[in-house]
């Protein structure tokens, strides 16, 4: 069945995969907001949201409904088109990353082998970087279009923070790429799954640490949440936003957190690899093995998300100059050092 020289089965297969992954990401982000409030409550020794449904499980839907029903306000002196474009861009950039992530091994359905990855492109990690660097526009455009000095200041803060930490992030990853020798995320996971090969975090502990800190900064999470520092900037770049447009900004942060957890799990913790288990010996399990891999990836992701929250409710916010100092004078030299050492060791081992 080909029309316009497209394989339409492949087209619909990918379409279904995209729909499933997008809705799963949204659903997980939805419940991450709930988890955040529960974790905060536990860390502060209080019950947390527990009114809507059993254990407060319907709380995210109540929140979403509240945000949608609220009055939509667009400031008079703002640039209307860009004002709406800002949250849309933030949301799109947050969701676009999931295209290159390998969510699991191949499954066989209706006689077709389906890879649980939308596109295993040649430049996997670079694609992630490209999308991450676009995330800045959501903040900048929104902050500028609000026509508010606080929003503008917060947007500039956010953009400069993202650019500064992107640098250290990229260089910390170069060391990892030297080891793997490929940019394809699917290939990186397969290398870690081989028997006798440890997860990449064993070979790149410093690289992982740097990447983790940079991921916090890129997601605008505490201790790096300066773009929305309430006591200095009222509310940050989304001060003028109301209703679901504000909701999209807040939601994009949670999606970013989810996606960066997935990327950390994929790059450094074996992705959908099941620990202490040789997948090649149980190939006859078929689809169940692939599903177990997906569940395993999700468990790793949940641990990372919990870590994100744990840090948020434990460590206070940095001062802005401290943030920049950390980024340029600590993270960047450390990342360079890590890269040099890795290169030297690889050269040494090859002799």
């Amino acid at each position: 069945m080909t029309l316009l020289s497209i394989d339409w089965f492949l087209f619909f297969e990918k379409l279904i995969l995209i729909a499933v992954i997008i809705f799963a990401s949204l659903g997980i982000a939805l419940y991450t907001t709930f988890a955040e409030r529960k974790v905060a409550a536990i860390l502060q020794d209080r019950p947390g949201p527990n009114r809507a449904g059993p254990f407060g499980l319907f709380q995210p839907f109540a929140d979403g409904l509240k945000l949608i029903m609220k009055e939509e306000i667009i400031p008079n002196n703002s640039n209307k088109f860009l004002f709406v474009l800002g949250p849309a861009l933030a949301m799109v950039a947050a969701l676009m990353t999931c295209a290159v992530i390998p969510w699991g091994d191949k499954i066989v359905a209706f006689g077709r082998t389906v890879a649980l990855q939308i596109a295993d492109i040649n430049i996997g990690i670079l694609y992630v970087f490209g999308v991450v660097s676009l995330g800045v526009y959501g903040i900048m455009i929104g902050g500028w279009a609000s026509n508010n000095k606080f929003s503008l200041l917060a947007a500039l803060r956010g953009a400069s923070q993202a650019i500064s930490y992107e640098l250290a992030m990229g260089i910390s990853l170069i060391a990892l790429l030297m080891i793997t020798g490929t940019l394809q995320l699917g290939e990186i996971v397969k290398q870690q799954m081989q028997p006798g090969h440890f997860w990449n975090v064993v070979y790149q502990p410093l690289g992982f640490l740097l990447f983790l800190v940079c991921a916090f900064a890129e997601c605008n999470r505490t201790p790096f949440d300066l773009p929305e520092a309430e006591n200095e900037l009222n509310f940050g770049y989304h001060q003028e936003y109301s209703s679901m447009k504000l909701g999209f900004y807040l939601f994009a942060e949670y999606i970013n957190m989810f996606i960066s957890s997935v990327i950390m799990a994929t790059l450094f913790f074996g992705g959908y690899d099941i620990p202490f288990f040789d997948e090649t010996k149980h190939a006859d399990w078929g689809n169940w093995l692939a599903l177990a891999g997906v569940v395993c990836l999700m468990i790793k992701v949940v641990i990372f998300i919990f870590f994100f929250m744990w840090v948020r409710w434990t460590i206070p916010r940095f001062r802005y100059d401290q943030l920049m100092k950390l980024g340029w004078k600590t993270m960047l030299p450390l990342a360079l050092l890590n890269m040099l050492i890795t290169g030297a060791v690889i050269l040494w081992l090859k002799k």
């Binding site: 316009l4 970087f129 490209g130 660097s133």
Partner: protein, 167 residues
């Protein structure tokens, strides 16, 4: 019409329209945003040629970093006025003449380029644009120019820091 052709025409139209809008937009911030759209369309063309590495580097470096700096400057200088100061007639005339000269040179160059005449770009195939091939080429055949350009960038960076420092 094959799907590649449809995408090609769509991207071309997007690139040309966005480029025209860069010039026609009143607000500088809108110009920058249209320019970002141009970069995306061009990256799409690179992907059609299977030059994935150049496509993504174009987005990371130009759309992701340089245009952010442009936006930074425009937002800080508060250039968001809809009206531009009117230039006088002589300025406009010289602009038209110099722009026309550039156009003539470009057209004559394209007309004289005989080696690309009658050749069709290869889409979707070929691996010269993939990162492995490109990296090997850069670090074997072109290693000296590559290293020299990196030194050039380093000196430019240091120069920028020295100039940017106060006192």
């Amino acid at each position: 019409m094959a799907i590649t052709e449809i995408i090609f025409w769509f991207l071309s139209a997007l690139a040309v329209i966005s480029a025209i809008m860069v010039v026609l937009s009143k607000s500088p911030v809108h110009s920058v945003l249209w320019l970002i759209a141009v970069f995306f369309a061009i990256s799409g063309h690179y992907v059609l040629l299977n030059a994935q590495f150049i496509a993504i580097v174009n987005i990371i470096v130009y759309a992701g970093a340089i245009m952010v700096l442009f936006l930074f400057v425009l937002m800080l200088m508060n250039l968001n006025k809809e009206t531009e100061p009117q230039k006088n007639l002589w300025m406009k005339l010289t602009g038209v003449v110099s722009g026309g000269c550039l156009l003539i040179i470009l057209i004559s160059l394209v007309r004289q380029a005989t080696e690309i005449k009658g050749k069709i770009a290869v889409t979707k195939t070929g691996d010269i644009g993939l990162i492995k091939v490109l990296g090997k080429e850069l670090f074997s055949s072109y290693v000296v120019p590559f290293e020299i350009s990196s030194v050039l960038f380093l000196s430019a960076m240091i120069g920028a820091v020295v100039i940017g420092k106060k006192d």
